[in-house]
Amino acid sequence: MKRFWVSIFRLGIGLGAVAMALSAHAQSMFRGDPAHSGTSNATAPRQFHRVKWKFPTGDRIISSPVAEGKVLYFGGDDGNIYAVDSETGRQIWKRTTGGPTPCTPAVANGTVYAGSYDGKFYALNAQTGAIKWKFATEGERRFEAKGIHGLQPKNQTIADQYDILLYSPVVVQGAVYFGSGDGNLYALDAATGELKWKFKTGDVIHASPAYADGVLFVGSWDSYFYAVDAATGKEKWRFHGGEDALIHNQVGFQSSAAVVDGMVYVGCRDSNLYALEAATGKEKWKFFNELSWVIVSPAIKDGKVIFATSDSSLYHVVDAATGKSVLKQQDKAYMFSSPVIAGDVVLIGVLNGTLQARDLKTGEPLWDFQTETSKQNKGWVLTADRKFNEPMFFTSSWREAPIVGIERQFNIGAIFSTPLVMNGAVYFGSTDGNVYAID
């Protein structure tokens, strides 16, 4: 799809409408395009100037804003899908679903597509928020396992508090594709919501499928990463990531893949970033991160792969061909937000409540923005230098203490949301319930 538009553009026969469609399309789904390259056409500011506006909601914002024209679309954990004017920060409409919507919507042909924890998938009129159709999956759920992450009692099944990002749909050639907590990868007719096919995996799919050359690429918590024919729903190949039968910590694909130049780059909870051949699924290289998850979706540009880790809180640039480290920077807290390349700046959200801008070439920090909630540092969730202060929020592995601890960790104004860059401004959500526009 993307290649098609680019071809028209290069031939100089792009009409105004086509140019507009290309421009809007580049921001209208998670990671900017169906292949999830993580590269924006826009240029990010090299200096922080101001908060242009902030849009408060009723609960945390995990979703990443997408845009069509001047309108931002995002989901909220308060159960609403929002349309907001990107210039003014004023609400255009909201549509209430039956559950939290930490899902990044996709917009195409005047329709907003998003999923909700109510187990339904929604198609909404992009101008009014009216429901065009909705589709019932087999039910939404988070990844769960006995004694997960070493929590007690170890024979008790516990939901994974870190399974926080709900799948994001991808819209290509009249079809909308998304994963689900029911383990299925779905293909629906984008216009009618009619089921074209579904592909069953062994566990939760909360990553967003990437699309390239008629193939969908998505990982599941069953430890496999899949390539599926977009037209038929037939499996082309599968790749086996790591497993962790003991505490289920080092297993599962939560990262959404990026597909560039015939290669698939994807992070895994087994602490590897994998480079796989898109045609065969053959592993070309892997980059091991010492038991630290890779949740982010990598960004690819000029033969470099940019990604970040959770516990070790490292910002990495590796060579796309070899997987060798090009540069590594120590950050202060976990990163679940995916890096976005916008001009010569890389933007990434950090779970300590800061949005960071780094120089693309050197990786050096250019500026950061810290949410007020993070500055308040209630309960000393952060150290004075903004690192996670585990002894102050993980008080026990028993009963609900870890869940409360993780809630406190996340409620510091954490930025899970992947930033959107448009017209010189940066848009992103925070667990403090706000969507911010800064420039």
Partner: protein
């Protein structure tokens, strides 16, 4: 005469400070959005210098030892060992003074953050002394080796026991995986044939039973939620 009076006064003041600082103190540190309750026990009994421990309700901390405990006049400083701290945050420290109205007031610092606290004396000290190393039997002295697997990674452990008289046993504990780790040992005890080794800093515990017949120490090494069987044999 003046010198004598000064010495008398200073001595009396020190004695009074000691009496005043000793006891069980209860109160809270006012950290943002949260009142951190603290129960501190301070004792100067037995002429062995000051000892103390702390309870932090709701944080799973009961009887964590106080270290670097200094009492000078009405001023006190101490740090908490093995609780409310880690490699990233450093250790939690308290700096306090006795107030004229009999309270213990000061600053609680942790992870570079600082908050005021006030404690009130509620009774005599009940210092929770940490368990001490016991001696190990002659048969256990020397070097033992074994291999185990954790999270799919092979590791090699070496434990070298020695006895140091009244101090009980000493242990050099090394784990070799991808890196060589010298494990700081907090506790070594032997109760008949049952051996316990703990490292608070690494969150590692080894518990094993010594069998003279088999010439081995057979047990389990746990690190946080992870457990692995480990059988140690004497180094050749």
């Amino acid at each position: 005469m003046r010198l004598f009076a000064t010495i008398l006064f200073a001595s009396a003041a020190l004695c009074q400070a000691a009496e005043s600082a000793a006891g069980r103190w209860e109160g809270a540190a006012q950290i943002p959005g949260h009142e951190l309750k603290l129960v501190v026990d301070l004792s100067d009994e037995g002429g062995k210098g000051w000892t103390g421990s702390i309870i932090v309700p709701g944080f799973g901390v009961k009887g964590a030892p106080l270290v670097d405990l200094h009492v000078r006049g009405g001023d006190l400083t101490f740090a908490i060992k093995g609780a409310l701290g880690n490699e990233r945050a450093g250790r939690a420290e308290l700096k306090a003074h006795l107030t004229p109205d009999g309270h213990l007031a000061g600053n609680f610092t942790q992870g570079g953050n600082s908050a005021p606290f006030v404690l009130e004396k509620i009774g005599p000290a009940q210092v929770d002394l940490p368990p001490r190393n016991t001696a190990v039997s002659k048969e256990l002295e020397g070097e033992w080796k074994g291999d185990y697997e954790m999270m799919g990674y092979a590791r090699h452990a070496t434990l070298k026991f020695s006895n140091r008289g009244a101090e009980g046993a000493a242990l050099d504990f090394v784990i070799v995986g991808k890196k060589t780790n010298n494990v700081p040992v907090s506790l070594v005890t032997q109760d008949e044939n049952f051996l316990t080794v703990k490292s608070d800093e690494f969150g590692i515990t080894f518990e094993g039973r010594f069998s003279k017949e088999a010439g081995e120490i057979k047990g389990t090494l746990s690190q946080g939620p992870l457990e692995a069987p480990l059988v140690l044999h004497r180094s050749p």
